[in-house]
Symmetry: C2
Subunit: 422 residues, 2 copies
């Protein structure tokens, strides 16, 4: 049978042989259904002006956005290949009943892989939620505190500050240290912290996306039963974490582990069950825990995408291996900044510089717009700094390839050579 | 250039010529980017054992699930074709900054098409939210009421009942009519309702998925400034609605308009801005309205999918045309039930039978498991009734093709012929 496909259809560029090869090569660790109504397929194609096998790659930009952010190419290709019909089920993941056996297998595998990656003990509950980390700013105190309870906040950037402010509706939060006067370029010495006696929990934002400040070690709560709570949205699954140090970890997926619309919460199970009476049912951890995140309809496609990412991270060798790659990428970029004799500058204290978000400025700010514009022409996009701080920012999450950072560094050196006449 | 693709790759069955033809044929009403780095593509393929062009269709099941639910095939194929690289942007919709021009174009087009479909006046705000309709059970009273305000609820099924119960945390809800004693098979005569003087709003669930009860007309709130609030999750965009009758309409997308993870709220703008102090920021309509649903990272991919669905509904001729199709499908199924001389039974009062969810039982309940099992073998899945009521349920949302209902009806008649020896 001979088939001709004409292609004014730009979308078909996504379905070229390079993609097909990648799809065929993608590890198929999930069991395939045994009944297959389709006969084996063999196609020989001759093409007059076929795209080169690397064209799928050359179509892609290097996307330095802070979230939503770049995702692993193999994950995207896999999701594409099975969007219409997931593994012989006859339907898309987007169409599945969340209570059917197909989706249950998806969410259970996602949780299982996450537990493997982070070595999550059985005393911790894993929840897949909606509402972003911003909902957790309210949910954490609502679930863990009475209204009169004191909670200590270490504020190292905008996100810790937002969490601190939202908490005021539900508990008695204290900002026991703020980096604001230093323009959010530091993390405190933990021994110097004045923690509040009787505080219910100590809250940190493990990585601040806007200011590029990352905790490399964690403070110990002073109180006997006091727990550490961390917003890990922007460095979740970028490196190993000792979950036992925490009462709760929460993370919006859309930095390192998936698309927007899924928030993961890891909560020590004994902390669940005492939500304040005003807690909306959708913010009550006990409701979600009792129902394995299926109290209502979860964000199914987002959870599926997270599952593909977790599977890929496991196959990379886990978070220790992933951390090595991130250290390499980060070092490359920071060394380029620090070695530029001041042409590029990163204000963050060296010991707490984020491996995920790298803010930098030019000695000549007037050139910043040109820098961003030229980089975009070279297919390096979303380098403009957050609107609240200006300058530039390169977000280099797990899925940013080393090649993207190398290209950026090459561009930076070339840009300097063309503009640095100091 | 000659390319050979070997195919142990079941996923490639999704990328067969039938799909390619459909992709090429899909209306491209959104503007294409003018720069295209890829050259036009022409492929001539000869295949030894190629799947038949209809195999994409035969791979699909007829999915009668109540939500998440079946989606239009052309929408799924379009999403698949552009998942890896959206319209030359070099990235997936899942990777886009929600504040970038590409995603802004997506969300603005989605809102624009929705306003067209429902003829939404400019005095109404459209919000794309997370958290499901279940979050709105709390958010509606939190935003529209003081804690002491009375709110009237008409409870016609499980979902109205859940909304009523959640509201007790945030206002003074009254259930002014409940269909529970009639096993949720009725809707009240509106003239007989005893509405509470001074009630802030009157709440209905426009379509109850579990019990198959649908409002065909709407009650008028008795109070001068009292508004009507409706949960339209399961019949949203299935028929025209006069939005001006409502203070607020909310709907989880995952029945008629998209995947799970997106909730749409249509709120009369003058009602926004008086949320109770305990309202979490993510539940505050003013925060979302002031930020065009971009206060935090929205569920981007879900909004994109809703946009594709809205575009498709516009192209079908709008909701009046869609309603005709739904009436035809519903009539076919209800006539089969009513014409079965009692072998099949639907308990819902005829004037309020849902066009979206059709619950039915067998005169011989012992045969119900066999019915569901045999139907599944015939690729009609998810026909089992909700666990709280048993029996069967066929959800026949917009995207259920007429062919699916026809197949079900044929199957029902055949099943009866084989089992009805009364």
């Amino acid at each position: 049978m001979s088939v001709s496909m004409s292609a004014a259809t730009t979308p078909l560029t996504n379905l070229n042989p390079a993609a097909a090869t990648q799809i065929a090569a993608f590890p198929t660790s999930l069991p395939r259904p045994t009944t297959s109504p389709t006969r084996p397929l063999s196609i020989t194609c001759s093409s007059s002006t076929l795209q080169t096998p690397t064209s799928a790659a050359t179509d892609r930009v290097f996307n330095f956005a802070a979230g939503p952010a770049t995702l692993p190419e193999n994950v995207l290709l896999r999701a594409q290949s099975e969007l219409y019909n997931w593994r012989g089920s006859g339907m898309s993941v987007m169409e599945m009943s969340h209570r059917g056996k197909e989706f249950l297998s998806i969410i259970q595998k996602a949780e299982s892989d996450l537990r493997t990656l982070l070595n999550i003990p059985s005393e911790y509950t894993v929840l897949f939620l909606q509402g972003g980390a911003t909902t957790q700013f309210a949910a954490a105190p609502l679930n863990l505190c009475d209204p009169s309870d004191v909670v200590d906040y270490i504020v190292t950037g905008s996100w810790g500050d937002k969490a601190f402010k939202e908490a005021a509706k539900y508990c008695n939060p204290k900002s026991i240290w703020s980096g604001k006067s230093a323009k959010y370029t530091k993390i405190p010495n933990f021994d110097s912290l004045q923690q509040t006696p009787g505080a219910k929990f100590l809250h940190i934002c493990a990585n601040e996306t806007i200011h590029g400040v990352e905790f490399k070690t964690y403070p110990t709560p002073a109180g006997e039963n006091e727990v550490l709570v961390a917003d890990m949205s922007s460095n979740f699954c970028s490196k190993p974490v000792d979950v036992t140090k925490f009462g709760m970890i929460y993370a919006g997926a859309q930095k390192n582990v998936g698309p927007s619309g899924v928030t993961i919460a890891i909560v020590r199970s004994d902390l669940i069950g005492n939500a304040q009476p005003i807690t909306p049912v959708m913010l009550d951890y006990k409701i979600h825990a009792d129902n394995n995140s299926l109290y209502n309809t979860p964000p199914c496609y987002g959870i599926y995408m997270c599952g593909l990412v977790f599977e890929d991270l496991v196959e990379q060798g886990g978070l220790a291996e992933v951390e090595k790659k991130n250290v390499k990428k980060g070092s490359l970029l920071y060394d380029a900044i620090d070695g530029s004799k001041g042409f590029f500058r990163c204000p963050v204290e060296k010991g707490v510089r984020s491996l995920m978000n790298v803010p930098f400025t030019l000695a000549k700010p007037v050139l910043e717009a040109e820098f961003v514009k030229e980089a975009a022409k070279e297919k390096m996009v979303q380098l403009k700094g957050h609107r609240s701080v200006g300058g530039m920012r390169a977000s280099i999450y797990n899925a940013m390839p080393l090649a993207g950072v190398e290209k950026l560094v090459t561009f930076m050196k070339d840009f300097q050579a063309r503009h640095d006449h100091a």
